[in-house]
């Protein structure tokens, strides 16, 4: 009897014993992580499909000759900077400094908007040169198709992130939001940055 009681207490005290999160975090944050993981798998599938297409393709344009690498590098720098500022916003929110949190959120939104503007410019430049979803002047149809799909899907995530950040910033300014909510928005924004790190390396450089 004592052994079974001890065993019961051991189970109740364990991570999965109930009454607490087994992952040591609250459910909104954990759900955001689950969403990030699922979205990461989507992007991973896209990038691997791109790698496969490129491997079986007889020729592939040299990216450094096709893209404006100064612009792309600036875009990467801009997104990393906005991610750093977002981390400061989360830190300010955790410290209870609403004013600083709103300030950093606005700066993050500006950084994201600059990135999106550069992306629009890049697309316009590409389309102007004759790139379409099913053909492009560089001879490999999959090149432009993969560019538009991958960067377009990422750009859509950036736009969604800007919308979320704007809502969080307005509500934080009104005193109606919690540090956890700012942190969850931050997690999404850092995820968008991580995806771009992969796209920058594997699509533009490799």
């Amino acid at each position: 009897m004592d052994a079974s009681v001890a065993e019961q207490q051991r189970i109740l005290a364990s991570d999965w014993g109930g009454g607490k999160s087994p992952f040591g975090t609250d459910w909104p944050k954990f759900m955001m992580w689950i969403f990030i993981i699922s979205d990461a798998l989507t992007f991973a599938a896209m990038l691997i499909a791109y790698g496969f297409m490129r491997s079986i393709s007889p020729a592939w344009p040299v990216q450094t000759h096709v893209f404006n690498m100064v612009l792309i590098t600036f875009m990467t720098f801009d997104l990393i900077s906005s991610s750093a500022v977002m981390a400061m916003a989360v830190g300010a929110a955790r410290a209870g400094d609403a004013k600083a949190a709103v300030k950093y959120l606005i700066l993050t939104i500006i950084g994201g908007a600059i990135f999106l503007g550069c992306q629009v410019y890049e697309w316009a430049h590409f389309i102007e040169h004759g790139a379409r979803l099913n053909h492009n002047p560089w001879g490999v149809p999959q090149f432009a198709a993969s560019f538009f799909v991958i960067t377009g899907f990422h750009g859509f995530h950036v736009l969604s992130g800007l919308t979320i950040l704007a809502i969080v910033a307005v509500r934080a300014a009104m005193g109606k939001y919690s540090a956890t909510s700012v942190e969850n928005a931050g997690l999404y924004w850092h995820f968008v940055d991580v995806v771009w790190v992969f796209v920058f390396a594997f699509f533009y450089l490799l």
Binding site: I48, G51, T76, H190
Partner: protein
Amino acid sequence: MELTKSNDHAHSTSNRQYFTTWCWLLLMTLFALGIGYVPMPEGLKAVLLVGTTLAKIVLIGSIFMHLKFEKMNLVMLTFSPLLLAVILFFMTRGETRMHDATHQIISHQGEVIPTGEAHEK
């Protein structure tokens, strides 16, 4: 709900640490850009770029996303897409038959492209 102070002191990261991390990320970005331009074997380029990318995501994940303060089971869960992606990559790599001398690539005009020219840029 007001913007209340969090009681979780274990998650405190200073702005100075964020700035230092930002500097490192910037340096790694410039390094990756350099790899893209310097002529080198494709395999070496791939290894260096993958290594740099992994280093960047570890920094972003641990410092910006506060994963270094989270429980190990959550950290391992977040890295599961990377593991699955690696598995998927190696599963599909064999289908490309990149180094198979008998693999023929046929152009749109129906001509066979010799294997030696098959993977030029």
